[in-house]
Amino acid sequence: MTNPDANFLKGQKHLTRRYRAEQRFQWIGRIAIAASLTFLVFMVASIFWQGKGALITTKIALTVDLSTEMIDPANIKGASFDKIIKLALRTEFPEATKRKQKKRLYALVSSDAGFQLRDQILEGPALLGADQTIWVSASDDVDMLMKGHIDRNKPQNSRRLSDQQISWIDALLVKQVFNTGFFTNGDSREPELAGILSALVGSALSLLICFALSFPIGIMSAIYLEEFAKKGRWSDLIEININNLAAVPSIVFGLLGLSIFLNVFGLPRSSPLVGGMVLSLMTLPTIIIAARASLRAVPPSIREAALGMGASPVQATFHHVAPLAMPGFLTGTIVGMAQALGETAPLLMIGMVAFIVDIPGSILEPATALPVQIFLWADSPERAFLEKTSAAIIVLLIFLVLMNIIAIILRKKYEIRF
């Protein structure tokens, strides 16, 4: 830019100031973007940092007495495995004689240890008859100590493990292994046993229902609105409706599910069926809007050619236009499903917040979903649930990223540019 006043010092100064303002303005934009992205990176990184611990769990080696006096080989299941575990701990540390001390000693292993012993014996009955060294899960406090979340230097009444318990743990043979239980167990009150499988299955069943409902309905209505409906009051009304539904708060859909699906239709509470139905209502607008955009991108020449060859409008649409728009349909559906997977509030309304240990076997059984499980664990006071929550979030984010990557690949690979 040339400045006619360049000879005048005053004008020069003015211009410098304006250019400086220009630079400042650009930097404000850069800083705003950087701030948002820094927040994103910081949030994801902190959750990963907290969650990685949940992939590791602590096991304790115990020498247990599996003689026939303790376990009758003819009736293995009838034996008291908890007693065997407790006996093993007492023989290891005979100094624990008082009731309170014993209780503290038993608290080192998980309450599930007896069952773990039983499962190992049922798997390999050859163990029976002699003393054996077996590995059982440590309690969550021991796990936290091993991961360094319990400070040994603090005075003992301000941490969850006493000095004596810590000395016991140091004397025991302890190993840290990959936590398969996190992926194969249902929810549990004991953090060291809690897993995400029941929540994952619940989410999968709900998404299945959601897909089965919202995909056909969404595609059909998109095709109707884009290809057949005459522009008029009705199609306007439907269009306004869809746009508004897309912006209705998700919790309102939950209220609808509660009062209509549960109270009027009497469908089972907490079930993936109702969860999927509510989620499908929410994903419907997303799918319709994406599908319409993809139909609009199919050039009219395709329709005209089909009609010219004698196809009926329905044939032209379903045989020629819809297949070309299919990648767009699928992309929109996957994006909608990804939204549904992360949705929590409407599922709380229809009671999918129950404490579910068992893996739901059908769409009518009570279930929970992954984001709801995250919400439940986030509320738990135990320190050990913090890393479980973060790990569950990581699993959820991985699924979301995968779904979005699939959507991007579909769009890149199959999108036809006319």
């Binding site: 830019m1 220009e22 708060p249 309102v252 329905v314 044939q315 379903f318 509030a345 709380l348 995250i374």
Partner: protein, 322 residues
Amino acid sequence: MASDNMNTANSFNITSGNRSKFTETLVKAAMILCSLVAVAVTIGIVLSLIFEALEFFKRIPLSEFLFSTEWSPQTALRSDQVATEGKFGVIPLFTGTMLISAIAMCVATPLGLASAVFLAEYASKRTRDWVKPMLEILAGIPTVVYGFFAALTVAPFIRMTGGNVGLEVSSESALAAGLVMGIMIVPLISSLSDDVINAVPQAMRDASLGLGATHSETVKQVILPAALPGIAGSLLLAASRAIGETMIVVMAAGLAANLTANPLEAVTTITAQIVALLTGDQEFDSAKTLSAFALGLLLFIVTLALNYLSLRIVKKYREKYD
């Protein structure tokens, strides 16, 4: 679209023509049914909310609901129990919602607008292609994740910082929930405003630059005023999203119905109360449970009004330059 009399043109004999005509009618009917689902859902929402809310207003008068300043929905558990009547004044919930949404908008508006201006006016195509999807990730992260982060990282941080400078900060402050919610709605504002700024005709930009204005002066004095209605629309949409947001406030804002404008205190919101009222087991006909539907109706009306307004503004603006 082709007219209906073309339907029979492809059939070679009458019987197959009739059959295909029948199938076509069936397919069309199915399609119409499917597109009516969206309408049915809206009707379902409105009817169910109004029906349950009316039940509620039979017990608690509308005037008390709207104008009373106390909210404590605890009613007697058993009918023979002597307990205080629940108080159902929505004002503290409404102010709490507004406080948190206002904080969120204070965070999101400058960040979103500055990002939008930079992306639309200054960024190279490569930067745009890279930064835009990154910002969109913020909108794709489930709200329960934001809630977890707000409650376990941001809230303690604010409490600690406040404590260091001598401020009393509640552990469930409105500030933490609002801040995190603000970041969540940044992409909503930035992508909508970006579209609006791009829609401002190039001629206006060229004219301003030709008169010797710098790029930033052009943005501030020509482009932003021209794009203002659209930007207002995007802000309204973001505000409606903030008001309806549930998980962040449930996890980070708490349930104390305080009537306050102090962002360091705990407040509760309409959505957080709906969740609190309807999770757990209670009989369906109590005033406490029904009040959740009255709150839902209020929420629905407010967000619907904001959405409608914003769609109208954006639409009107688009027509102006098309």
